[in-house]
């Protein structure tokens, strides 16, 4: 299940952009129309949580991470790509942000499935999952930092995305769960809708 939980880490929010339009005119919740140039790169914060079944054991992986959303123009066609910053090394794409985020989340999840498929026990999965989740690259992290600076400079905002402090720490956890029906619990946090502020 994908929760549209990623957030732009920046300061106060006023207005928003959509997809690849050149200039955005929109009316906010108090009826004030504003114009804003779209940003081609956005620094995102995301939260994922998935249960992963192994060979006779069950694990839950949760993460608050960082990603970079980029709108690319390739031969006149627009594509949205989201690439991992923490963890680094994977990406997802689509014709719009929702598709790209869905693909990004799916890639994150299937990587965990693949690591689980290779693990003989929980400890082996925990080690490989943590190695994946902790991956960083200074070059990619700098791109994210630069994007945060740009968001702040332009006081960029977005109606579909909440704003959250860029200093929010990256965290991840890999837990073993009892392999019983008690593990079947609806993820209330993931289902909770987010209201743009």
């Amino acid at each position: 299940m994908v929760a549209w939980q990623h957030r732009i880490p920046t300061g106060p929010v006023k207005t928003a952009t959509q997809g690849t339009e050149k200039t955005i005119n929109m009316t906010n919740e108090v009826g004030v129309t504003m114009t804003q140039e779209p940003m081609q790169t956005l620094p995102l914060l995301f939260s994922f949580r998935e249960k992963v079944v192994g060979k006779g054991f069950l694990a839950e992986v949760s993460m608050s991470g960082r990603a970079l959303l980029e709108i690319e123009e390739i031969d006149g066609e627009s594509e949205v790509w989201i690439s991992g910053v923490q963890p680094v090394g994977f990406s997802g794409g689509g014709r719009n942000r929702e598709e790209a985020f869905e693909d990004f989340h799916q890639m994150w999840t299937t990587i965990l499935y693949d690591l689980m498929a290779e693990a003989d026990d929980f400890q082996a999965f925990e080690a490989s999952a943590k190695e994946f989740l902790a991956a960083q690259s200074p070059n990619i992290s700098k791109l994210w930092d630069d994007a945060v600076v740009e968001v702040r400079k332009r006081n960029h905002s977005d109606p579909g995305l909440k704003t959250q402090a860029a200093s929010t720490p990256v965290t991840f956890e890999v837990e073993e769960l009892p392999l019983t029906p008690a593990a079947n619990q609806i993820d209330g946090a993931a289902l909770q809708p987010k209201v743009a502020a």
Partner: protein, 98 residues
């Protein structure tokens, strides 16, 4: 090059052979894990949805562009996979390239 915006798996691996010296690739059920031990970095490419076993499956260019950026081999990959960054486009070599 495959269809619009996609590249054949075998062409991608051939390009990596030329652009990313010393890499190793591990084939998982859903993805390839490409590791460069000297940098400690690992990049992931999803398996193509079709044609994987023949190497003819196609992977979207965006995944390859992000992988190339991670390893800082965008220029080389752009020359080996024409169209990766758009028709007639290729990023310049990194400034610290020798």
């Amino acid at each position: 090059m495959g269809g619009h915006g996609t590249f054949k798996e075998r062409d991608i691996l051939a390009a990596l052979e030329q652009c990313l010296s010393g890499f190793t690739v591990r084939d998982f059920e859903h993805h390839y894990s490409i590791r460069l031990s000297s940098s400690g970095l690992t990049g992931k490419l999803p398996h193509p949805k079709h044609g994987k076993r023949e190497g003819s499956g196609e992977i979207q260019g965006g995944h390859i562009r992000k992988l190339a950026r991670l390893f800082r081999i965008e220029h080389c990959m752009g020359t080996k996979l024409p169209g990766l960054f758009g028709s007639g486009k290729c990023p310049p070599p990194p400034e610290d390239a020798t």
